[in-house]
Every structure is written in structure tokens, then in C-alpha cells.
């Protein structure tokens, strides 16, 4: 495989991961999956449901943060962000 094809594959993978993260977030935060968090238990000092929602939330933030740079680098439609601004 050529370097270019490798690069394309890597970019596609990163975009796929960003989609996967989004879908995971939607599924985990909405019923019916979210209903699984309704158990009578505690995580540390917190009720399970509360801990669950915040844990998913933190997971999404970390995932997005990790993907944000590779995603930007994968954007071949704007190498210099200002080149799309018409006054330049």
C-alpha cells in the first residue's frame, strides 16, 4: 500500500472513531441503555445513576479531546483556515 493510501486510511479511521464516540454517547446517555444505571448502589459516595451520567460525560470529554487534534489534522479541505475567508 502506498503512503497516500495509508494516510487516507488513517484519516478515515479517525473520522470513524469520532462517529463511534458520538453514537456511543447517544446510546449510553439515553434510554433504554441509561435505565441500566438505575440500580440501588453507590459509587464512592455518589448514587449510581448520578455517577454513571457523570462518568459517561467525562468519558465523552476525554474522547473528544483526544480526537480533536487528529481530526483537525485529517482535514484536507482547509490547510490554512483563513484561506476560506473571502477577503484574503
Amino acid at each position: 500500500m502506498s503512503d497516500r493510501a495509508n494516510l487516507q486510511l488513517r484519516r478515515r479511521k479517525i473520522r470513524d472513531r469520532s462517529i463511534a464516540l458520538l453514537l456511543l454517547g447517544i446510546v449510553l446517555l439515553l434510554p433504554p441503555a441509561a435505565n441500566m444505571a438505575l440500580i440501588d448502589a453507590q459509587v464512592g459516595d455518589l448514587p449510581f445513576a448520578l455517577a454513571y451520567v457523570f462518568a459517561v460525560w467525562v468519558f465523552l470529554i476525554i474522547g473528544t479531546a483526544l480526537l480533536s487534534r487528529p481530526l483537525l489534522a485529517s482535514d484536507d479541505s482547509s490547510k490554512t483556515p483563513e484561506n476560506i475567508s473571502p477577503e484574503n
Binding site: 473520522r15 469520532s18 462517529i19 464516540l21 458520538l22 454517547g25 447517544i26 446517555l29 439515553l30 434510554p31 433504554p32 441509561a34 435505565n35 444505571a37 438505575l38 440501588d40 453507590q42 464512592g44 459516595d45 455518589l46 448514587p47 445513576a49 448520578l50 451520567v53 457523570f54 460525560w57 467525562v58 465523552l60 470529554i61 476525554i62 474522547g63 473528544t64 479531546a65 480533536s68 487534534r69 481530526l71 483537525l72 479541505s77 482547509s78 483556515p81 483563513e82 476560506i84 475567508s85 473571502p86 477577503e87
Partner: protein, 894 residues
């Protein structure tokens, strides 16, 4: 406890600080941009105007009443930012490329720069925003009353509204500059974003560790209902609220303003994608603890909506209360300022400007400075919107209706979602589709949620709500079509957004976009593939540079217009004067103007000056022409290739014929040389004998000489025949045709062969014979043919009693002469080749004829427009038939 005076001083000091920050930043930025102010962190902080006082105070109230549900308001935006790559990035890209000034501008621009769509979106935005502003005024007023211990709510709200209007006007309408960025305002709201986060965190930490004993203490023995609400937490309402908040972060005019319009660099989105959700997490992490602690320690009947403020006061932490107040104040003011700027931009661009343009259209004077008009109209709009919010506050004051207003506004702006998403992801979305969808959604929102929210007897009576208008149960606002038992919010969202989207899709699929709309649809949907900003390029018609320049001056101001036109002129290579109004110039001007007054208005103005009312049609025709040309070219190519194919085929067959002819020529030559060789050999050998053997007897000499003579004659005859046939075949010899009597010619020929027939003992009979008929022929040549055929018949007839019959037959057009012998004739196999040169039949035996007689006869007959054929009888005997042209038929037809 602080005295009210100190409290007021702190408040005014804070307000003064905001003014100074905005002022300083605005001034600095105009000289040269401040680096750190253009950072992604500032961008993220400005997006946090999402957290209004509704979040600051209301979330705690909501948590106290409904448990975890408040979190949905932050989960939706989190999901949108997690998926920033797929939607926000596209919105920002489109917004930058088209210099979009508001969400109304974006939607109208996408659907063919439609003014009606822009007005509709603006109306919905105003109706949804005014109550939201009222909510902010209310929360600031109430919190002020709590801190100051009373005071007239009306006058407090009035002064707050006035101050906010002043701020928004001062920093929101300083200029109309590119992309509607307001650096001073952004700096101020970024500062406020930090203040509100710090304040809420401070109160939260105080509540958790100052009042309670950490999380364990707060959540110990917590009943399920406290967390999960009365009806279970992860239900339809949870889904709908998440959906609504996700929609709001895109569709709220103020969010669109800070996220898309104020965006400086697309890459900032990458940072905001995780930093903004993190900010939201920070804002919410202590909401639940504050609510639970408040419920525990606050006296019965205390308003949970104000726990953030009253909890520190209750605990005698006035400093914290003051900080909390400033946080709430910050949340409210930043939201009001940005919302007022965003909505006023929409109103002035899409409602006031078009009207003003109509009025000004009559007087084409330069004196009517559009720029000033625009600024004034925007200032007026800000004041008007805040006034509207204030009156709404007064109007509904005292009722608890405002509490739900945040969500009602969310549902209102959610009506933009189908048109917005459809616009940037679906080429097939059309203006009628967007108009119908928005209208349906808007009306249903008004009917099912907005009007009922005014509550008791104000607009809708209880009777109206529970029994429907005129007792029609199916039309009950909160149970439309008999959907009883639904949460009113879920009910309203399902009906309004659902039918909105459905109508949008159905009408779009049934209608066709016009040319400009198709163009815009392509550019918007393929935002990442097009170079950006190449919108609406149309051929310059009768556009006058002068007029365009005047227009630009009126909108952009004299200096910026001068600079812009100089630059465009330089690009065209003209050092002085105005640029020629090419496509590029007009498109660029339109784009520059749309940065100030919105795409629809800019398009309308430029189009009017460019003298083109039917831009779309021309473009459409151009596109169609282009397609037609391509089809035509390809068709022509195909034809050409077919022609070439045919030519090649013809060449191939011609080549084939040439080869055959060449082969025949070779054969002919080799046969001729063979035929010539035989007599030549005998002549040479006998003359050799005569030369080398002088002792030969005279008798022998005479014999040899006679052989040489005979062979010479044969050679001469052969050469004559060859010459003859070649002349006949090439048509070099034209025979003189004259009327010839058939019977006479036959008799003449029979006389000529009488000698050989007698010696061969062949009996020749004539008849039946037609009456004497004239044919068109050459007498001598006909004679030659007849003799040739007759002598052949005599020579090759090996029957015991050889007989020959000659008969003639006259038809209307033709005269035929048959020469029939009883020698068996020519076999079928030979028939095809006897007319070939040098060919001899099987019966020819030892005869030494050259084999040119029949070919010559055939050539003669052809030259006389007749023919010579071999006919086969029933008993497979064959005979020769001469076809001749009837003289009278030629005369008759002549």
C-alpha cells in the same frame, strides 16, 4: 451583612469593569488584534452564554424538584460538540464562506436568498427570545431583591433593562464590520463566563463542605425520588429534553451568533469541542449537592430557584452571596446582550432594511446613507427587543409562568432545525418546503406550548385547555388529536417539530427549486468541496460600476468602499478608476455587503443595480446550454466515429477488390505469357533448325517455314485478340451501333461456317425463326460472335450425328438467338468459367484455341448492350443464347 450601599457599589463597579473591558478591547482590536483574545479558550467562554441565569439559579431549582433531569440541558450540547466534526464545522465553514450574519440569514441564503424565509425565521426568533430576556430580567430582579432586601421590582427591572440596552448598543453596534464580530462584547462575556463559573463552584463547594459534610453526607439515605423524579428519570421527557438542548445550542440566535458568526478560526472548534462540555460539567457538578443541601437546611417554603443566593445568606456568608449574585448577574447580562445583538441584527437586516430599501428605492439619492440607517435601525431594534422583554416581564410578573419559559423558547427555536439541517445536508430541500415546515411548526408551537404557558385564564381558559376550542376535544392544545396523558412539553415537541420536519420533507420533495436556490443548495451541501465563497456568480449584465460603488459607500462607508473597489480594480489590472463589473466583482461585492446586511438584502440590492431581475433564469439556461453542448459534442463524436468506421470498412473492401484484381492481373499475365510462349518456342526452334542445319532438304525447309508462318499468324491473332478484349473491356473501343437484321446476320454467319461444318459433317438447321427483326448492333461484331459460337459448336461437338440448331425469338424488348447443339453443351461446372480468359471446357480436348473466343464474344455483346449466356434445358443440356436489343424498342423509348 453588607449594607445595600456597598452592595450597589460593588454591582456598579462590576458593570463599570465590563464596560471598560469591552471598550478597551474594542479600541485595541481596531488598531491591531489582541492575540490571546483570538484564542480558542475565549471562543469557548463566549459559547458559554448558553448558561444563563436559568442555569445559574434555575438548574438548582429544577434539581430540587425533578432530580437528575436538569442534566439533560447540558447533555444535548455536549453531544453536539462531541460530534462537532460532522455539523458545527460545516455550519462554521458555510457561515464564513457566505459571511452569514445570523441564523435567519443562513437559512434564507440557503433557500435562494429568500426574503420571506428570513422574515419568518426572524419573527419566530423574536417571539422566542423576548420571553427568554424577560426571564433574565426576572431572575436578576429577584436576586437583587433578595440581596437588597426588597425594592420595587418594576423599576429595578427597568433600570437593568436600560443598562443592558445601553451596553448592547454601545458595543454591539459600533460598526457593521465584516462578519458581524464584536470583539469588545466577546471579551466582556468571556470575563462574565469566568465569573459565573467561579461563583457557582464557590457556592457549590461551600454547600458541600461548608454546610454539609462532603458528598457522603449529602447523598446518604437519599430517597430514589429525589434523584429520579416522581415518574422515573430516563423516560420520554429525558429524551426530548436532551434533543431540545442539543437543538438549542445550534438554533438559538445567540448561540448561532457566538458559535458561527463570531468564530474567527475554524480550528477553535476543535478546542471548544471538549472544553465547552468540560465547562458545562463544571457548571453542573455542584448543582445536585446545592439543591439537596438547600432542601435540607433551608426553611420550608423557600424558593429552590434562589438557593444559590439564599443558601450563603442563610449561612451568613454575604461575601459568597455577593459573588453568587455577580455570577447570576453575569449569566443574565451576557445572555441578554448577545441575544439582543443577534436578534436586532436579524430584525434590522431582514425586516427594517428591506422596507427602508423600498422607501429609498424611489429616491436614488446618495444622501440617504444606508450605513447610518442600518446602524440606527439596529440600535433601535436592541432597545425595542429589551423593551419587549421588559413588558413581557411586567405582563406576566407575579405568575410562575416564567419558570418554564426557557424550555418553551427551546421548542420555539427548535423549529429551525429541519430547515437548517436539511439545508446543509440535503440538496433536495426547497424554499417552499422550508417555508411550509417552519410555518406549521411555528403555529403548532404557539398553539400547543406558547399560549398555554401564560396559564390561568390569561389567554386560554381552563375550559379551553381541558375541553378544546368550542368543545372540540380533538383540538385540545395539550392533547391534540386525543393524545392524552402526555407531558405537555413532550406533546408539543412531538407535534410541532415532528410535523414541521414531515411537512418540510414532503413539500420539498413535491416542489422544484429555482436556479439560484439550486446553486446555493449545491454550495451549501458541498461546503467542503467547493473553494468557498464562490456563491452566485452571474454574468454581469448592465451593471454600472458607478452605481455599485455608490451602493457600497452607502452600506460599508466611504473609506472601506474606496479600499474595496481599489483592490478589485488592482486585481483587474486597472491602476485608476473603478473595476469593470465582472461576475467576480459583483459576487464579491454582494458577499461583502451580505456581511453587513444579510444575503437576501445584499442580493436584492446588487441585483437591482446590476439590472438583473431574472438572474436565476439566465444561470439555469447557461447550465442547460452547457449540458446541451456536451450532449451535442458527444453525439457528433459518435457520428464521426461511425463515419470513420464506415470509411474504414469501404477502404477494407476496396483494398480487398484491389487485391483480387491484382491477383487476376497476375494470373492473366502468366496465362498470356504461357499462350505466347508456345508459338514463340516453335518459331524459335524451327528457325534454329533452319539456321544451324543447312543440309536440310528444300521440302523440309518449306515445311518448317510454313510452320513458322502459321505460328506467327497464330501469334498475331492471339495478340490481336488480347488487344481486342482489353479495348472492349476498358471501353476504349466504342462500337458503332446500327439496325441489323437478325435473320440476315444469322444466314450470313452460317454461310461463313459452311466450310468447316461441311468438313466436320455437322448438320445445321435453322428455325423456328421469328419474322425479320431489326436489332441494334454492330454488324461485323455480331457476325464475329455468331461465327465464334457456331464454330465452337461445330468443333466441340463429338456426337455421332452432330447437329446444330439455330433459332431466334423476338419479344417486345429483346431479341434472342439460341445456338443449340447435340454435343452435350457446357457442363454446369464449366458454365461459370467458360467466359474466363484462357479457360477451356472439358470438351475442348486437344484443341489449341487460346480460350479467348468466348470472353471476347461476351465483351462484344456487353459493348452492344446485349448479353451472352449459357442456358440449360430440361435434360441438363445447355446452349448459348445471345441477347440483343430490339431496335424498335430503342426507337420507341427514345
Amino acid at each position: 451583612m453588607f449594607s445595600v450601599n456597598i452592595f450597589l457599589a460593588v454591582c456598579l463597579g462590576y458593570v463599570a469593569l465590563l464596560f471598560v473591558v469591552a471598550f478597551a478591547v474594542d479600541r485595541r482590536t481596531r488598531r491591531n488584534p489582541i492575540q490571546w483574545l483570538q484564542s480558542p479558550v475565549i471562543y469557548t467562554l463566549s459559547i458559554s452564554i448558553y448558561c444563563t441565569s436559568w442555569t445559574f439559579y434555575g438548574a438548582v431549582g429544577s434539581a430540587a424538584r425533578n432530580g437528575l433531569e436538569f442534566i439533560t440541558i447540558y447533555l444535548g450540547p455536549t453531544l453536539v460538540f462531541v460530534g462537532w466534526w460532522w455539523m458545527l464545522r460545516k455550519l462554521v465553514r458555510i457561515g464564513k464562506a457566505h459571511r452569514v450574519t445570523s441564523i435567519a440569514d443562513l437559512i434564507s441564503s440557503r433557500y435562494g436568498k429568500s426574503p420571506s424565509l428570513a422574515v419568518l425565521v426572524t419573527i419566530i426568533a423574536v417571539i422566542a427570545t423576548a420571553p427568554y430576556i424577560a426571564l433574565q430580567l426576572q431572575s436578576v430582579t429577584r436576586s437583587y431583591q433578595v440581596i437588597a432586601g426588597g425594592g420595587d421590582s418594576a423599576s429595578t427591572a427597568f433600570w437593568i433593562a436600560t443598562g443592558l440596552a445601553l451596553f448592547a448598543i454601545l458595543f454591539g453596534t459600533r460598526n457593521l464590520d465584516a462578519n458581524e464580530r464584536h470583539h469588545g462584547v466577546v471579551a466582556a462575556i468571556a470575563l462574565e463566563a469566568i465569573v459565573k463559573l467561579v461563583a457557582l463552584l464557590a457556592v457549590g463547594i461551600f454547600a458541600t463542605y461548608g454546610v454539609a459534610n462532603g458528598f457522603a453526607d449529602i447523598f446518604a439515605d437519599l430517597p430514589n425520588e429525589a434523584l429520579e423524579g416522581a415518574e422515573g428519570i430516563f423516560g420520554p421527557r429525558w429524551v426530548i429534553l436532551t434533543f431540545l438542548s442539543a437543538t438549542a445550542i445550534i438554533c438559538l440566535p445567540r448561540q448561532f451568533q457566538v458559535t458561527v458568526v463570531e468564530n474567527i478560526d475554524e480550528r477553535h472548534l476543535a478546542t471548544a469541542s471538549w472544553l465547552f462540555p468540560l465547562y458545562l460539567l463544571g457548571m453542573t457538578i455542584f448543582i445536585m449537592p446545592i439543591a439537596l443541601v438547600g432542601l435540607k437546611v433551608m426553611p420550608e417554603g423557600a424558593n429552590p430557584d434562589l438557593y444559590v443566593l439564599t443558601l450563603p445568606l442563610e449561612q451568613n456568608r454575604t461575601d459568597l452571596a455577593l459573588l453568587a449574585f455577580l455570577g447570576g448577574f453575569s449569566s443574565a447580562t451576557s445572555m441578554v446582550i448577545v441575544a439582543a445583538i443577534a436578534v436586532s441584527t436579524m430584525v434590522s437586516n431582514h425586516v427594517i432594511m428591506p422596507l427602508a430599501l423600498k422607501v429609498l428605492a424611489g429616491s436614488h439619492a446618495v444622501s440617504g446613507d444606508v450605513r447610518n440607517l442600518l446602524l440606527s435601525s439596529r440600535r433601535f431594534c436592541i432597545a425595542a427587543i429589551l423593551a419587549l422583554g421588559y413588558f413581557y416581564f411586567r405582563f406576566s410578573s407575579g405568575s410562575d409562568a416564567l419558570a418554564a419559559i426557557g424550555l418553551i423558547a427551546f421548542v420555539g427555536v427548535a423549529q429551525f432545525l429541519p430547515s437548517l439541517l436539511g439545508g446543509i445536508f440535503w440538496r433536495g430541500a426547497t424554499r417552499p418546503g422550508a417555508l411550509c415546515g417552519l410555518t406549521v411548526g411555528f403555529l403548532l408551537w404557539i398553539y400547543t406550548l406558547f399560549l398555554p404557558s401564560f396559564g390561568n385564564e390569561l389567554l386560554f381558559s381552563d375550559n379551553f385547555l381541558s375541553n378544546g376550542p368550542w368543545g372540540m376535544g380533538l383540538l385540545r392544545p395539550q392533547a391534540l388529536m386525543g393524545l392524552v396523558g402526555w407531558d405537555p412539553l413532550v406533546h408539543a415537541v412531538v407535534w410541532s417539530v415532528g410535523l414541521n420536519a414531515l411537512t418540510f420533507v414532503v413539500v420539498s420533495s413535491l416542489t422544484n427549486p429555482d436556479a439560484l436556490e439550486r446553486l446555493q443548495a449545491g454550495i451549501f451541501v458541498d461546503a467542503f468541496r467547493t473553494a468557498g465563497g464562490t456563491s452566485s456568480s452571474f454574468a454581469a449584465g448592465t451593471a454600472q460600476s458607478e452605481d455599485l460603488f455608490i451602493l457600497a459607500q452607502r452600506i460599508l462607508g466611504a473609506q472601506p468602499a474606496r479600499i474595496l473597489f481599489d483592490e478589485m480594480a488592482r486585481e483587474q489590472g486597472t491602476a485608476t478608476g473603478l473595476p469593470h463589473p465582472t461576475d467576480a466583482v459583483i459576487s464579491r461585492l454582494e458577499r461583502e455587503l451580505s456581511g453587513s446586511i444579510g444575503a437576501a438584502s445584499a442580493h436584492a440590492m446588487v441585483t437591482r443595480i446590476a439590472g438583473r431581475q431574472t438572474v436565476g433564469m439566465t444561470e439555469l439556461i447557461d447550465i442547460a446550454d452547457e449540458t446541451q453542448r456536451l450532449i451535442e459534442t458527444s453525439r457528433q463524436l459518435e457520428e464521426k466515429s461511425n463515419e470513420l468506421e464506415q470509411a474504414a470498412q469501404q477502404l477494407r473492401s476496396a483494398n480487398e477488390r484491389l487485391r483480387t484484381l491484382d491477383l487476376q492481373k497476375d494470373e492473366f499475365l502468366s496465362q498470356i505469357s504461357h499462350e505466347l510462349r508456345t508459338p514463340m518456342t516453335s518459331i524459335r526452334s524451327f528457325s534454329d533448325l533452319l539456321q544451324t542445319q543447312p543440309e536440310l532438304s528444300l521440302e523440309d525447309r518449306n515445311h518448317f517455314t510454313s510452320i513458322i508462318h502459321g505460328e506467327s499468324l497464330r501469334l498475331t491473332r492471339l495478340l490481336d485478340e488480347i488487344l481486342d478484349i482489353s479495348r472492349l473491356e476498358t471501353g476504349a473501343a466504342t462500337l458503332k451501333l446500327e439496325p441489323v437484321g437478325v435473320n440476315r446476320a444469322v444466314a450470313h454467319a452460317l454461310d461463313a461456317v459452311l466450310g468447316i461444318s461441311r468438313s466436320a459433317d455437322v448438320e445445321i438447321s435453322v428455325g423456328p425463326v421469328s419474322p425479320e427483326t431489326q436489332v441494334l448492333a454492330n454488324g461485323d461484331r455480331l457476325h464475329q460472335v455468331l461465327i465464334n459460337i457456331l464454330s465452337n459448336a461445330i468443333k466441340y461437338n463429338h456426337a455421332p450425328e452432330p447437329r446444330i440448331q439455330v433459332r431466334s425469338l423476338v419479344t417486345r424488348e429483346k431479341v434472342t438467338i439460341d445456338i443449340i447443339d447435340n454435343g452435350g453443351g457446357v457442363s454446369r461446372e464449366d458454365a461459370a468459367m467458360v467466359f474466363e480468359k484462357f479457360a477451356r471446357g472439358k470438351n475442348a480436348g486437344q484443341d489449341r484455341g487460346a480460350g479467348l473466343g468466348l470472353p471476347i464474344s461476351l465483351a462484344i455483346m456487353h459493348a452492344m448492350k446485349g448479353d451472352l449466356t449459357i442456358e440449360f434445358g430440361k435434360d441438363s443440356t445447355s446452349f448459348f443464347r445471345l441477347h440483343l436489343v430490339h431496335h424498335e424498342s430503342v426507337v420507341a423509348s427514345a
